[in-house]
Structure formats: C-alpha cells, structure tokens
C-alpha cells in the first residue's frame, strides 16, 4: 500500500480532466481524490498498490481527454490516510504560479449536435447545450479554479436534472461547468432595433427574418455578429452601407461543407482547419464563376468562410432557407466588437434591424479567428477564438508583458518559458480599444497568476498608444521597460516559433518605425543570440503626406517614381497609366498638384522602405485599386489580380550595396508592353526573387542555415512560395510562422522573445533600438 500526491499542470481544467481521473482511478482500483487548484492545475491523491498506481500514471499520460494537455507532473509520496473511495474534491484556491492554463473556447461537439436535434432529448433545440468536451471556456471564465461560480454561468443555478448529470461520474456532463438546460440555463430573446421584444421562438423567427432579407445582430460566444443572407446582393450591399465598410471582405458562415464546396475550393489542410474544434474563418479560393454575390469580397480571389460552431448557429440554419450567412463582427470600423446587451441596443441601432440576444454575459471578448493557407501551410491572420489562451514556447523563463504594435493588436504575457498571446485586441489608436486592452491585460494577469513582472516590452514607435501605455505601466509597477524595433520583432517571432538560434529574416510589411526614424517595411535582417543587424532594405522613397499615403496609395506611387523620374515627368506618367487615380483623391487635381509640390519641397514627407506601399503603388499603377478602405486592401487586390497572370516578364530588382532598388522595377514595368495581370504577376516574382537571393547570399556569408519570412506581406502566396523555392534550392531551411500570426497580430511573440534575449544578456537595449 502506497500513497502519492500528484500535481498536474497543463490544460487540465475545463476539459473533463477530473472525470477522466475519476474513471481511471476506479479502473485501477485506487482510492483518494482529485481536485482543481486555483492556478489552473489539478491535485490528485491516490492510494493503492504500487503496480496499480503505475498503470494509473501511464493512463494519465496516454488516455487524456481530447482537449487536455499535460505540461508537467510532480509526484510525491505521502503517508497513507486510508481513503474509502475515490472522489472529486471541492476545488481549492491553492497551487503555485504554475504552468497551467484554461482551455480556449471549443466548438459544439458531435454528441451535443446529435442531442440538439433529438426531439426526445431534454435539450432539444436548446442552443446552450454543452458537455465536458465542448462549449465556451475562455470567454466565460472570470477566475480560477474553473468552477461554475468563477464563470458567467454562476447566474444560472443548475436544476435538479442538470445537477444529477453534473454529479454522475458516468455522465458525459460530469463536472461540465457550463451545463444547463432550458429550465435552468440562459435563453435567447429577439428584439426590434428599438428594443421591443418579439414574441415567439426567437431563433426560428430570427432565421425567418434573415431569409426575408433583414440584418440581425446575433449574440454568440465571444461577441455579437451582424448576420444576413449572403446569397442576396441587395442585402449585402445594405450591410456595407450600414457598417461603413464599402470594400472589406465579409466573412460568411456556411451550413456545412457541401455548401462551401459549391462556391469555393477546399484543400485537405483547409478542410482539417475548417472542421477543427477552433472553427476559424478560413479564406478559401473562390470558384469561378462565383455563385454568390461578388460584393461579399470585392476584387479578391478568396472568400473567408467558417462553419457553425455553436448550437445557436446550427438551429438558425435548421430553420433558415438560405445555407449561407454573412457573419461579420458587430462594430463600426476600428471599434471593439459589441458584446454586451445594453451596448448592443445603443450601438447597433443603425446597423441591425433586429437583435437576437441571450442573457449570459460575455466576459472576455473573442473575435473569430482568421486563417489562410499560404504555399500549403497555415498562416494565421487573426488569432483569437479557439486559439486563445494557448501558449507558444520560448526558451526564456522570465515574466514579461509584450504589448504588440498598434493595429491588429494582441499583447502577450511571458511566463516560465511560454508566451500566452491575448485574443485579438484591434486598432489601439482608439481609446475604446485601448480600454479593452487594459481590461484584457488585467484578466490575463489574473488567470495566469502573474504577480510581478520582470520586463515590459513595447514597439519602438514613439506615438503608438501601446508604447505610451507600456511606459505608464512600467513606471507605475516599477518594472523595467524595453522598446524593440518592429521588424526585429517580426523576425524574432519566427525564431520563437521554431526555437532557432539564428536566422536571416525577410521582414516584408506595411509600416514600422525604424531605428533611424524612417519608416521600415522591406528589410533583410540577421538575428541571433549574438547580434541583430539590418543587412539590406528597400531603398527609401518619399511618402508625401505620411499616413495619407497608406490611404491613398497614389501618393506612394508618386513617391517611388520620384526616385527615378523628375517631378515634371510624374504628371505625364500618371496621366498615361492611371488617370483615374487622380480622380480618386478627395480633392482631385488640386490635391495632385499639392502632392507634386510636397515631393518637390519635402513638405510633410516621410521616407519609407515599406514593401506594402510598393505593392499598393503597383495596385494604383495597374488600376487595380486606388484606395485603402481596410488594412492591406490595395496589396491584397493586387495579389488577386496577379493570380490571373501567366507570364513572367522577368523584371529585376537590383541591389546596390544594402539598397534594394524597387524603383527600377517600376521603370521596367512602365517600359514593357504586356497584359496588366502579367505585370502584376511579374512584380511579385521579381520582388520575391530579389529578397530571396539577398537573404540566401547573406545567410551564406554569415554561415546561417535558416532563412525566414514574416510581416504583413508574408500572407502573400506568390511572394512566399517564390522565396521558399529560392531558399530551398540553395540548401537552406525555410521558415515562416504557422502558429503565430505573421502580421502585427503576432508581433507580441517576437517582442517577448527579444525581451528574453535582452534579459539574459545576449542583446542590449541599444541593439534593439539603434
């Protein structure tokens, strides 16, 4: 007879772990108890024969429930107490600052879907049906340990029926904290946009209203969506008007895989991702002709699609005639997605005709995640619901906070060799978003049990709100503060994900503040435990009007052209190639002339090496897009346009020393007589070849085996594929990120990695900012 106390860390709460332990303890004839700890870990005490305890421990590791993950098991022999049974003990707040974490939100499981549509089941057509294997987690958890009273389900005391299932070790809802039924759980109500309740089955009615062409706000798991019939052009058009999104691609939710196959191609990896428990939005290649309205994703060759992930969605589609909904987050551009009922009535009045709201609070906002497969591998555009709060390993044990950048923000906490990136925060230039970020930071600190920080890391940009907030927090908390250059962080995120010692990285991006005060975004960088060095970059070109050049890329085009042509020649070139671009400026010709003067006299002109702006500029030159209504628009449309190109025109982007002369490619493009799609195609290839070849050359020079790519342009299929081929053809290893977002949504991971290099004395603060 032996007794052991076992401390398990990992994802062991909210995943059916205790019932699992209960079961295997019984199977091996052991006595004792299992309980949740306040650090998200689990404590087990077992008594019995040594042999049985060993097989118990083997099963503990090998037969885990699907969502559980064990990071560490600590076992200590204790005196035998003589338990008479094995039971689940009440949770206790104890535990250490361990390595455990709650799981992400999990989409409804097959068993629950089956019950949902079983007329004899108590939870027939009940949208909040869950079990130990599925349902909301991150979005409803207020604190640890994971018990009902620490979730937003605390307002819904269980009925006898639910409680009997909850307490039955053989039931699949045994200790499923959000368990509920129509008698005791949350419920939906349907309202008009002035708050009047509509009588009748709210979900059925909502489905009918959507079929009739109305826009309905639907409260779900991590926030509120605006939903409408995605097959109707007039309705989608109306939604665009109301949400002030003239161009941004709308994500759609399709009833099932068969429906998706009617309008988009699905590869095997894409299928796996679409149907995973995360249920993200996956951008798929549209079929041609595209049977749905073109305005769902104007000018793009892809469409973002997701499958139903909550009971609500299944029920809506059950009643609905249309098998595809637009499901876009309910907010005006740049603002946080609305998640609370009160706010919904205030803020969605003008956007939604009806509101389908439930009475369970959403504690932690989580937008739908967005994923794209680039060159056959997963690239995460937005990492949120379903991913968060899972961690990414880094080889540094410090406790730190990495703030991310400004747009597409997510922050990350680093602790015991892991970084925990937050949910999608958004555009932090808005005070409302920054408020959300502050709350989310506090929440993460709480659930990660982080009391004292060693370091706060922010971007180098002096006017990012996140930089300022980081400084304030560092001051207040008396924590060391570090700023790191934006593109160093992008490349560091590749090192972090693959645990590399050194890399030659290609940072292709929109805009980041450079160590020289210029605006970077087309960089080849050496990064290792010894040094960081910018080896090559796109030759600076002027951006007349600064940020205006992001919104009106004609400005970027004129800036780049001014590197090879005289100011007086610009007018003629624009007139010849893209006269409509001038008309797209808010003040047309007058403004065009102002821009010429700005270039001539350097009035409010900044200098940039951004790859994003180069692609934007081609988008204008080739008359693909003149405006940026959403992040990345001109470059994304250029890529879609280039997909139709077939011939490589053999453009070259020469390098002179460390300068990559993109302006030469513009000259070649202006002199060639070819189909615009071929020009677009060739531009991508030429740019990628140039970056790829320089990176390979530098890697050989430095004796580095790894070449990586990151930044917002690393979502570009043509560029990534071309670079990868060059790297591999030279016998080097090619990397990008497949877990960490490649754009600014993932920069916190790179920041945290650099923070580790800094704290451990490998790199100095000057290395990272000068």
């Amino acid at each position: 007879m032996k007794a052991y106390r076992i401390h398990v860390q990992g994802i062991v709460q909210a995943v059916g772990f205790r019932p699992f332990v209960y079961r295997i303890a019984h199977e091996h004839d052991l006595k004792g108890y299992v309980k949740n700890l306040g650090d998200a870990g689990v404590e087990i005490v077992v008594e019995g024969h040594e042999k049985n305890i060993n097989s118990f421990l083997r099963d503990l590791r090998e037969k885990l429930p699907p969502l559980a993950r064990i990071e560490r098991i600590k076992k200590r022999e204790v005196p035998v107490q003589g338990f008479d049974r094995f039971y689940i003990e009440k949770s206790s707040p104890g535990g250490s600052e361990g390595d455990s974490i709650i799981p992400p939100d999990v989409s409804i499981c097959d068993d629950c879907v089956r019950e949902l549509f079983d007329p004899t089941n108590k939870r027939y057509m009940y949208p909040f049906i869950v079990c130990t294997n599925c349902g909301p987690r991150f979005t409803i958890i207020e604190d640890l340990p994971y018990d009902r009273e620490n979730t937003t389900m605390k307002e819904f005391p269980m009925c006898d029926f639910c409680e009997s299932e909850y307490k039955d070790p053989l039931n699949r809802r045994y200790h499923a904290e959000p368990v509920c039924c129509p008698v005791c759980g949350p419920s939906y109500r349907l309202y008009t946009n002035d708050g009047e309740e509509i009588i009748g089955d709210p979900l059925k009615k909502a489905a009918e209203l959507i079929d009739k062409g109305y826009i309905v706000a639907i409260k779900g798991i991590g926030g509120i969506h605006l939903a409408c019939d995605a097959t109707r052009e007039d309705v989608v058009e109306e939604l665009r008007k109301r949400t002030l999104r003239p161009q941004k691609p709308f994500a759609i939710m399709a009833k099932d895989i068969e429906t998706i196959k009617e309008f988009a191609f699905i590869g095997p990896e894409e299928l796996e991702e679409l149907t995973s428990y995360r249920k993200p939005i996956v951008t798929l290649r549209k079929k041609e002709p595209f049977p749905l309205p073109e305005i769902l994703a104007p000018g793009l060759h892809t469409i973002g699609v997701m499958l139903p992930y909550a009971g609500t969605h299944y029920i809506l589609f059950h009643y609905s005639k249309t098998p595809v909904y637009v499901m876009t987050s309910a907010n005006y551009p740049g603002m946080p997605m609305v998640k609370d009922n009160e706010k919904a009535f205030e803020e969605l009045k003008a956007m939604a005709d009806y509101l389908l709201l439930h009475n369970r609070k959403i504690l932690n906002r989580a937008d739908d995640s967005v994923v794209r497969f680039v060159d056959g591998k997963r690239a995460i555009i937005r990492r949120s619901r379903g991913f968060v709060p899972l961690s990414i390993g880094i080889p540094f044990g410090y406790r730190g906070l990495a703030m991310g950048a400004e747009l597409m923000n997510a922050f990350g906490f680093s602790k015991n060799g892991k970084i925990y990136p937050s949910q999608y925060i958004g555009n932090t230039s808005k005070v409302e978003v920054l408020e959300f970020m502050r709350q989310a930071i506090e929440h993460f600190k709480k659930i990660l049990r982080i009391k004292k920080l060693d370091l706060i890391v922010a971007d180098l940009h002096p006017s990012y709100n996140t930089t300022k907030l980081a400084m304030e927090m560092a001051n207040e908390l008396g924590v060391e503060f570090l700023q790191v250059q934006h593109h160093y962080a992008h490349i560091a995120s590749v090192m972090a994900e693959h645990n590399l010692d050194e890399i030659v990285g290609i940072a292709v991006d929109g805009v980041g503040y450079g160590t020289d005060g210029h605006t970077w975004g087309g960089e080849v960088i050496y990064l290792s435990y010894e040094d960081v060095e910018r080896l090559a970059h796109i030759d600076y070109y002027p951006l007349p009007g600064g940020d205006l050049a992001s919104y009106y890329p004609l400005r970027a085009l004129m800036g780049i052209l001014s590197n090879v042509y005289g100011i007086d020649e610009l007018e003629e070139i624009i007139e010849k190639c893209c006269p409509k671009a001038v008309e797209s400026l808010p003040y047309r010709r007058v403004e065009f002339n102002v821009i010429l003067t700005q270039l001539a006299k350097e009035v409010n002109t900044t200098y940039a090496s951004s790859t994003g702006r180069v692609l934007d500029a081609f988008s204008v030159l080739l008359n693909v897009a003149y405006r940026r209504h959403y992040e990345g628009e001109p470059a994304m449309k250029l890529e879609s346009f280039a997909m139709r190109g077939k011939n490589d025109l053999g453009f070259t982007v020469p390098a002179e020393g460390e300068l990559i002369k993109v302006e030469e490619m513009f000259r070649q493009a202006l002199e060639v007589n070819a189909a615009p799609a071929d020009v677009a195609y060739s531009v991508h290839l030429a740019l990628a070849r140039s970056f790829g070849e320089i990176a390979v050359e530098k890697a050989k020079e430095f004796g580095v085996k790894n070449v990586g790519i990151s930044g917002g342009v690393a979502f570009n299929e043509l560029i990534v594929k071309t670079v990868r081929k060059i790297v591999e053809a030279n016998g080097l290893k090619f990397y990008s990120t497949y877990e960490v977002p490649r754009g600014d949504n993932g920069i916190n991971v790179g920041q945290a990695f650099l923070g580790g290099l800094y704290l451990e004395g490998y790199l100095s603060g000057e290395d990272l900012m000068l």
């Binding site: 007058v590 006299k601 900044t606």
Partner: protein, 336 residues
C-alpha cells in the same frame, strides 16, 4: 546637446528644453506671483490689490509678409494675446528689432505701420524700443514685451472637472496659410492667417461672466489647439474631451490640411483664445465671444472630465475616441 529646430517647435521636445535646460539654469525666477517656472503665457507681479502682468515674445516668422498679415501685426498680436490670456488689460508695449544688413527700407516702414495699426486696434501704446543691425542675413526679427494690469490673473492651470471648453473661432488658419504660402502650394482658395489681437474677445467674456468665472485661458499658438489643450489638461490634472465636429474649421483650411496630411489642430493660431469656464456660464461666454468681431465663429468644443487626467480626447462620432497628442515635431507614419 545641440539645439535642433524641434526644440522651438512647441511640442514635447521643446517642453523638455524648457524644463530640463532653461528652468534648471535660471533659478531666481519669480517676482511673487506666477513666475517663469509656471511656463504660463506671462508672469504676474502683485501690485497693490491688482497684478502687473509681464510678457515677452520674439517673432521670426518667414515670410515676413504673408496672406492676412505680416511680422509687425504678429509681433503686436503675439504679446497682446499673451497678456490677454492672463486676464490682463494691455497697458504698454516695448519693441526690439534686430535687422539684417541690407534689409529693404520700404519693407521696414511697412512693418512699422502695420505695428502701429494693430496697436491702435487694441489699443495699446508702444512706449519704448531698441534697434540693432547685424551682418547676418536674418531679414528681421521683432521682439515685443508688454505689461498689463489684471484684477485677477488667469492661469492656464485652472480647469475644473465639469467645466466647458470654448474656442473663439476657426482653428488652424495661421499655420496652414503660412505653410501653403511659404511652400508655394496652390490650394483652391487662398488661405489667410488669423493674426489679430484678442483682448476685445477676452474682455467681452469677462464683462459678461466676471473674471472669476474664467477658470483657464490660453492662446493656441505654436503646437496649435493640440498643444494648448494638452498643457491645460496636464497643468490642471484633469482630462479634456472635445468633439471633433464642434471645432470650427474653415472649409478651405480643412481641405488644405487634408491634402497636406497635417492636422489643423496641430498648427499655430495667432488670433484665437481657448477658454475654460464653468458649465453654467458657458452659453453666456459663448454669446459674449460671438458679439465681438474676432469671436463671431466661437464655439463650445468640449468639456473637462474626470478620467484620463492630463490627457486630451477627441470624440469623432461613430469613429470612437482617440487621444489628441501634442505634436512631436516631425510626423511619423503609423498606419501599417
């Protein structure tokens, strides 16, 4: 340290120079009232039951003649306005001119006449002066000092939570007009500087609601409205929330600033006053401003709030709120 242009641009970098260099080296800096260390628009010296207010301003504007004014009008207005926003009636001015060798005599006379005219507008006499000629090709610098008498000096640090923020007219006129003119940018309409003395506007409000009800005042010159509001928020340790749509801006100034990519909030005004008054006096103050010629476009633009102490927020309707930062010298792109 080397002095850079940004050290005089009215932004954060200038603030650092003032605090870390100038104030650290000039230690005897108060005459019993508001002194140098307050970095206010002027100093106050208690005198019987009133206060002498004393201020000085150097003018180096280029070009010397610009649409809507010239360096002479600017030199008078600048100093008169610094007195006015301290709540002081201008009593007398001193005028120092530093002239580069070879400066055109006609232009010199034009400048003096313009000074005279502007001074009469207030009215305030120019009672003493100093003239220097130097070899360096500087054109002309005009430095004016002024004294005024205030019953009750008004600092820029008196804002209270719940107060209302007013501005006496359109914003950005001077800065944008000057930039357009200087760089030879052809906008559709020619822009004009707003350079003018604002004593009349200030006095009108004081007559209407009493000096004691003007909690804080500032002329939004260098660094523009952004800088003025930030200083007022920081010094009073309050938050300020303004509504973008309520800030008066001439359409042609808005257009020009949108074409240049420069915010009209960030550039100088030379004939405006920002005033913070208790809510119950806001409408009267507004009416009093609007009665005057120079205040006819006055508007209530926001309020003083409890949250975000030391910061200024702009409400942009459905676009949400953003921080209005004091301009930091060169603009840096941030839109990825």
């Amino acid at each position: 340290m080397k002095i850079k242009l940004e050290h005089g641009a009215g932004g954060e970098i200038m603030e650092e120079l003032l605090r870390d260099v100038i104030l650290k080296n000039l230690s005897l800096n108060s005459a019993g009232g508001i002194g140098l260390d307050a970095l206010d628009d002027g100093a106050t010296i208690p005198f019987g039951d009133k206060h002498v207010v004393f201020t000085i301003d150097g003018h180096t504007v280029r070009p010397i003649f610009f649409p809507g004014g010239d360096i002479g009008r600017l030199a008078i207005s600048g100093t008169v306005n610094d007195l006015a926003v301290m709540g002081a009636q201008p009593i007398a001015l001193a005028n120092s001119m530093i002239i580069g060798e070879g400066f055109d005599g006609e232009d010199f006379i034009k400048i003096l006449r313009s000074m005279d005219e502007t001074a009469k507008e207030v009215p305030v006499p120019i009672v003493t002066g100093d003239t220097k000629v130097v070899e360096d090709d500087i054109g002309i610098f005009v430095i004016t000092a002024g004294i005024g008498i205030a019953e009750r000096p008004i600092s820029d640090a008196g804002a209270k939570v719940g107060d209302v923020v007013l501005v006496s007219g359109t914003i950005g006129d001077h800065g944008i007009a000057l930039m357009g003119h200087r760089e030879g940018i052809a906008f559709e309409t020619e822009l004009k500087s707003d350079v003018a003395p604002v004593w009349e506007v200030v006095k009108s409000v004081a007559d209407a609601i009493g000096w004691e009800n003007i909690h804080a005042m500032k002329d939004p010159t260098r660094g523009g409205l952004s800088n003025a509001l930030n200083e007022m928020a920081r010094k009073a340790n309050v938050g300020i929330l303004i509504r973008e749509a309520d800030v008066p801006i001439k359409p042609e100034v808005r257009a020009a600033s949108e074409m240049l990519g420069i915010s009209p909030f960030d550039v100088a005004n030379e004939g405006k006053v920002v005033m913070i008054v208790p809510k119950e006096h806001a409408e009267d103050a507004l009416e009093a401003m609007r009665k005057t010629e120079k205040g006819r476009n006055a508007a209530i633009i926001g309020e003083v709030i409890e949250d975000y102490r030391g910061k200024v927020l702009v409400e942009t309707g459905i676009g949400g709120k953003r921080f209005l930062e004091p301009p930091a010298g060169d603009p840096v792109p941030r839109v990825c």
